[in-house]
Each structure stands twice: as structure tokens, then as C-alpha cells.
């Protein structure tokens, strides 16, 4: 194992943590989903986000060993484990985004470092810098069509694809883990903007926010 200094970025349990959208919920509100809601927004805060950089073959071996899934080698690939809790997404030819349940990221990082040994790689913990927003419902795609420049038609955007693209005036990582759900990985500093944009754009579909 290399001599990189690592530390657990999670605070002790007694220090309260707030999701990047906590301020937005207070300021802009969170309309509860009703029977008429054709799209429902749900934030999945405090997940573990890791950025892996390095050669595909070396990383693939380590990720298989530690996470039990293979690294998506093809551009725009997104793979998940059996229960959909952990995912690995292709971001660039030498960069992948790993999202795991909150609290697992530090152990995972250390195990990956151990498995990778002296290979040429970098792992950075981006958990504090971004959050995951889920869109569900029949109008989710329509809402995205108004917001992102990327073509979200199922023929162009099948399940198991993820892209980094322009969302309104910011950027998001847009992914499609299954038929019904769309996931947006948004930067912390743009979370409020993205949230308010989604509320505004989703108004005509009766957007609801699941707590």
C-alpha cells in the first residue's frame, strides 16, 4: 500500500449533518406528492461518492475483487451490483464514479488502495461535494427534456447509461439505473439551483418531493 494519507471524512454522530438541499427545503419548501403528481423527486443524501482514476485494466481487477462488479469499460457505461445499492459509472477514459451507501466509502477506499498496491492510480472522496437526486414517474423524462441538452429518448438513453451533460445553466451527471428512475448527481454548490429549477419545471406535472 502506498503512503497516501487517508482519513474518514464522516463526522462523529453527535455533530449534526445537513444535506446540500437542507437550505432549499427551508427556503423553497417541499411540496408533498399527491395523487396527481406525475413526477416525484427524492434526494438520496449522504451517500459515499468516490472518484477512481487510473488504467482501466488495473482498476477493473481491483473493483471486481472489492465490489464484485466489473468496471464499465465502454463510454457512458453504468453498472450496479445485484441490489442496486452500489454503482460504478464511466466518466472519462481514465475516470470512474463509484457510489456506495453512506459510511461504506472509507472502508472501500482503503480496500481498493490495498488491492491496487503500487499501481498508478488515484482515489478521491467526493462525498461532501455532491448529492444524488432521483426523479421517478411517468413525466420524469418530459421534465428532463426541458432541462438537459442531451437526448433522453429511450432509444438513445437506455437503462445502464450515464452521461455528464448540461442541465439548465449548470452541469449534472445524468444516469438511468432502471426503467422508472433517473438519477442526477449534482454538485453541492449547484444543488439549490438544480432543486429550484426542478420544482419550477416540474410544476406543470404536479411535482412532489419525497422526504
Amino acid at each position: 500500500m502506498s503512503n497516501v494519507a487517508t482519513f474518514d471524512t464522516r463526522t462523529e454522530a453527535k455533530i449534526p449533518v445537513e444535506s446540500p438541499l437542507a437550505y432549499s427545503y427551508r427556503r423553497s419548501g417541499a411540496p408533498a406528492p399527491t395523487g396527481k403528481s406525475r413526477v416525484v423527486l427524492r434526494e438520496r443524501p449522504f451517500l459515499g461518492h468516490l472518484i477512481l482514476r487510473g488504467g482501466a485494466i488495473v482498476l477493473d481487477e481491483a473493483v471486481r475483487e472489492v465490489l464484485g462488479v466489473s468496471l464499465p469499460g465502454e463510454p457512458q457505461g453504468l453498472v450496479q451490483d445485484a441490489d442496486g445499492e452500489r454503482s460504478v459509472q464511466w466518466l472519462s477514459p481514465d475516470e470512474w464514479l463509484v457510489i456506495v451507501p453512506g459510511g461504506e466509502e472509507f472502508t472501500l477506499e482503503n480496500r481498493l488502495r490495498e488491492a491496487l498496491g503500487d499501481a498508478h492510480f488515484a482515489i478521491s472522496n467526493a462525498s461532501g461535494g455532491q448529492t444524488l437526486v432521483e426523479l421517478e414517474g411517468e413525466a420524469a423524462r418530459e421534465l428532463l427534456m426541458k432541462s438537459v441538452i442531451y437526448d433522453v429518448h429511450p432509444s438513445q438513453f437506455p437503462v445502464g447509461k450515464g452521461v455528464t451533460t448540461v442541465f439548465a445553466k449548470t452541469t449534472v451527471i445524468l444516469r438511468r439505473p432502471d426503467e422508472l428512475r433517473w438519477e442526477l448527481v449534482v454538485r453541492r454548490s449547484f444543488a439549490d439551483y438544480t432543486y429550484r429549477w426542478l420544482l419550477d419545471a416540474g410544476d406543470e406535472y404536479g411535482i412532489g418531493v419525497k422526504g
Binding site: 488504467g55 482501466a56 465502454e74
Partner: protein, 116 residues
């Protein structure tokens, strides 16, 4: 709006995701210390401004964030090809219709960014 093919993402993406970075294939002098002022000035400040085929460096700024090259026609604005860093263009001023392949042997593409 138009689409540009990113050679790293392997698909056509909106122009809005890209950013131009000037002329491509500018080689840094191998020994800057022994350059004359004129040579160094040419390297730093002077760029081609051709009428016709031009090779440019672009970056997929919102996306994979990789630099790549575009061969573009400065009169028609047509993008003739996009290719990865380290590769050579197929369309050049000498071969506007495309460089003939050398006995079917293409130069081996460099797998940049993937060190494995």
C-alpha cells in the same frame, strides 16, 4: 446548435459541451534554452490562420473533459474529422479528400489516458 463527435465518448454530443482551445499540433521546442527569441516567440504567440483546412485543439469541457483534435474547414465551417490526442489527421491541406492509407497499414493509435 450542432453536434460534434467526441472520440473519447464515442458519440455525437451537443456543441455546447465543447470548448475550442486554438491551433493543434504545436510542438514545444525540444531545447527551449537554445532557442532564438524569434523561434521562441513564434512558438508562444504566432498561429496559422489558413483559408481552408485547419487542425484545432478542442476540449469536451462538460463531459469527459479530454482534449482532442478537430480538422475543420475555415470557409465552410465543416468538421471533417475528430481524432484523439497523439493521432495524425486524415484530412490535411495536402490531402483535402483524405490521406490514402499507407498500404492498408494505419499508424497504431495511441491509447492515451488508459495506462494499463
Amino acid at each position: 446548435m450542432f453536434y460534434i463527435h467526441c472520440p473519447y465518448c464515442g458519440e455525437l454530443r451537443e456543441e455546447e459541451e465543447f470548448h475550442p482551445k486554438g491551433q493543434a499540433h504545436i510542438a514545444r521546442p525540444e531545447d527551449p534554452e537554445s532557442c532564438s527569441d524569434e523561434e521562441w516567440g513564434d512558438y508562444l504567440f504566432f498561429r496559422d490562420n489558413p483559408r481552408g483546412i485547419h487542425h484545432e485543439l478542442w476540449v469536451h469541457a462538460v463531459g469527459c473533459r479530454k482534449f482532442f483534435n478537430i480538422t475543420r474547414h475555415t470557409v465552410t465551417y465543416e468538421i471533417l474529422e475528430t481524432y484523439k490526442m497523439g493521432e495524425q489527421p486524415r484530412f490535411t491541406a495536402e490531402h483535402p479528400e483524405g490521406r490514402p492509407s499507407q498500404d492498408g497499414v494505419e499508424p497504431a493509435p495511441l491509447r492515451e489516458g488508459v495506462r494499463a
